[in-house]
Symmetry: C2
Subunit: 244 residues, 2 copies
């Protein structure tokens, strides 16, 4: 009965409206839940796990309450096609604090739509030690289950803010703002940056005109073949590989 | 009636078994079909398109036969959630020729499973002017509709071969074989390569032990943060950004 009710509740968290209302999201699988326990255990509201996972992670769980479930019960509450040992209901992170761009690289996403790209970019930021990402309000929701999965745990470490991008960028003074574009300065010739704002645009339309006007430098990845463009996450990875 | 039969036939091409049996695959949307018409029109077996697309592409179509369909008919034959003006049935490319690795960069994929990654990597290769990709036999099928879509047309330009990777690599003499790994030589310090074989591994297990033994140099992308790994396509993009 508990599982049935819970399955219904978890189902609702598949929708953004309910996630916002509840201030929660779902994280599944040993890797993701382990990283959350290590980085931000306080955010975990509930854990449902099979016995062997609980035994294996006894230390990490410390005094966290866990509800033991059978494989069959996990299947009922899981949103994955192949349920993976553990499911956690997690409190959405408090990212209302000040955004400080001084002395660091800040990644900005202007309308990234694909959840896989969004998750992949969060993972890239985490790989390169970028601590914060600013998203335009029309970007994909980071608590979308597909985004959460694609971050491979990095969602627990990178701070992500949503804001009116034009307004926010207009307020950034004394810092260089770089726009990734199909034409611009060759990124492979750039020096490593100590600070700066780097903008990645939407998958098909790129960076919007209004945002582009607020940037200082356009940077580009030199093309040697014939593809018209690169996937947004791949472009983010290549650019950060050069400048971070 | 024609549309109904065709819809059934196209449906079967969603399965690898039938694609192989028919030696065909499906390409949808103006961008993809346009690139196929430009690069490899002879491979196109049939085109179904709405009127405005046909009018717009009259020149490109030359003497190619096109069946005009209504939006409703296109919806019936399309495999996309949002049908997009045109659908083509395409002959699988003849990639049985010799694989020549001299004087060029060859990309090798060892067990890439995710269709999105596979498509994205083909697009990256095309961006960097890499003309051929060798895939292990257990890699995702490039004619999978999700792969085809994710290549954004690059599938028409990059030659892709499937082979027994261990056997093939064992036969490569006088050429350097680079394995991308979590530890190895820092790729950011490498010079551009004129020739070489670069291997990208499976999304979770990386490059298999047997394949790794056949390589000369391990290369890695330096990590500055905490993510355990990068998405396979992103890693391919960063590595090629440095060495091509």
């Amino acid at each position: 009965m508990l599982v049935k009710q819970k399955a219904k509740y978890i189902q609702t968290l598949g929708q953004k409206k309910f996630r916002e209302q509840e201030g929660a999201f779902i994280a599944e699988g040993p890797k993701l839940v382990k990283e959350l326990l290590e980085e931000n255990a306080a955010a975990i509201i509930e854990i449902y796990a099979v016995k062997d996972w609980i035994v294996e992670n006894e230390k990490l769980l410390a005094k966290k309450d866990v509800t033991e479930v059978t494989d069959g019960e996990l299947e009922k509450i899981s949103q994955l096609t192949t349920p993976n040992k553990v499911l956690a209901i997690v409190r959405q992170f408090d990212n209302d604090g000040d955004i400080d761009v001084k002395g660091r690289i800040t990644l900005v996403l202007d309308g990234i739509q694909d959840p896989g790209n969004m998750g992949s970019i969060i993972r890239i930021a985490d790989w390169f030690g970028i601590a914060q990402i600013i998203c335009s309000n029309d970007s994909a929701d980071i608590y979308n289950p597909k985004v959460v999965q694609a971050t491979m745990g990095s969602i627990a470490r990178v701070k992500i803010f949503y804001t009116d991008l034009e307004e926010w960028l207009a307020g950034q003074k004394d810092i260089r703002i770089y726009a990734t574009a199909l034409e611009g300065q060759d990124v492979t010739g750039m020096k490593k940056l100590n600070e700066g704002i780097i903008i990645i645009g939407n998958e098909s339309r790129g960076i919007s005109e209004a945002v582009l006007k607020l940037t200082n430098v356009k940077i580009t990845i030199p093309k040697k073949g014939k593809a018209e463009s690169l996937n947004a996450a791949v472009a983010a990875g290549i650019v950060l590989g050069y400048v971070v």
